[in-house]
Symmetry: C2
Subunit: 178 residues, 2 copies
Amino acid sequence: MATGAIRRTKPREPKSFDGETRARDDHHDSLRLWLRLLSCSALIENHIRQRLQGEFETTLPRFDLMAQLERCPEGLKMGELSKRLMVTGGNVTGITDLLEEEGLVARVIDAQDRRAFRVKLTPSGQRLFKRMAAAHERWIVNLFDALPAKSKQRLAGLLQDLKIHVRRQERPRAGNSI
Amino acid sequence: MATGAIRRTKPREPKSFDGETRARDDHHDSLRLWLRLLSCSALIENHIRQRLQGEFETTLPRFDLMAQLERCPEGLKMGELSKRLMVTGGNVTGITDLLEEEGLVARVIDAQDRRAFRVKLTPSGQRLFKRMAAAHERWIVNLFDALPAKSKQRLAGLLQDLKIHVRRQERPRAGNSI
DNA sequence: GAAAACTATTTGACATCTAAAGTATCTGGC
DNA sequence: GCCAGATACTTTAGATGTCAAATAGTTTTC
């Protein structure tokens, strides 16, 4: 969850401002940015996780899955959940099984495609999620409260840029090293 | 890993710019920011994870633990690793066990405190980590390449602010709801 | 219309993770 | 010295995650 740093580039002998130095600084920037991004999200994620456990005796993956369903009243197929949650299909199967046992979601047969089904929130799941979502929103708002609104907007914008660039970078091929 | 969105505030009837609207927008901002932060880090984390698996047959937690050790040649105690990696002690025990079996790290008895020991990279662990770290840095730099240097710096700064604010917000008490 | 290729989901083996309980060692106060 | 509590780590049970193989239903192709 932390992806520790590597910074071996000791900047002794500052050198004049040439391409070499520039590239190296840029590397350093990228690594530092990544580590900071990761530690921020881990910090907040852990916080939310503990709250969910402490106040609702539930977990973040369960909450996330239900959150996806809540905004799709017509239900979602397992594969769609997998893509949206950015986890593997097998994982979705497991979480859905548990939520189903708890009566919070239901697998509904899809008449069009008998391989698939739609997962939906049950009424009881909807009620519970409504409560959890309200609490979740309070926690987030409190955590982010101290950060000026302007910073939040800038940050959200920059993260959006980053996401787009990363996705673009990933597309070209799956196995291209270097 | 995704913490799905909740945005129930349909902005029908824009209302004049009063406190109500303002507060609600702010909530929306915080949530959106959080979801974006999380999806960014999940995106990149998954990428790195697959690379580590594909090219070194290892995992992110193993890499992270070794990264922490690499910059502490005198070794780290289990508890220190736990804090730095932001995971529980039991987790560190498991990963260390595996790395030890693979001969990449070693538990060294601490003469001062017989409850504890220092975990260190073995020479073989150092060699392997050096190779992995170089590749890891390339991957990160490539992923972040397209983002302008200026954006990276701004982003890193804002994330630093966020981290500080979140940590401050967390301190007050562990059990204060709302 | 049957074989081949594809797609949706589950299963199995195993690696992470957490929370809570257990074990051993250390420390401070008497 | 001795013992109560703190500290360092491990263990346990169970949830979450991956990957790869298995199952079953769909579509394509000829």
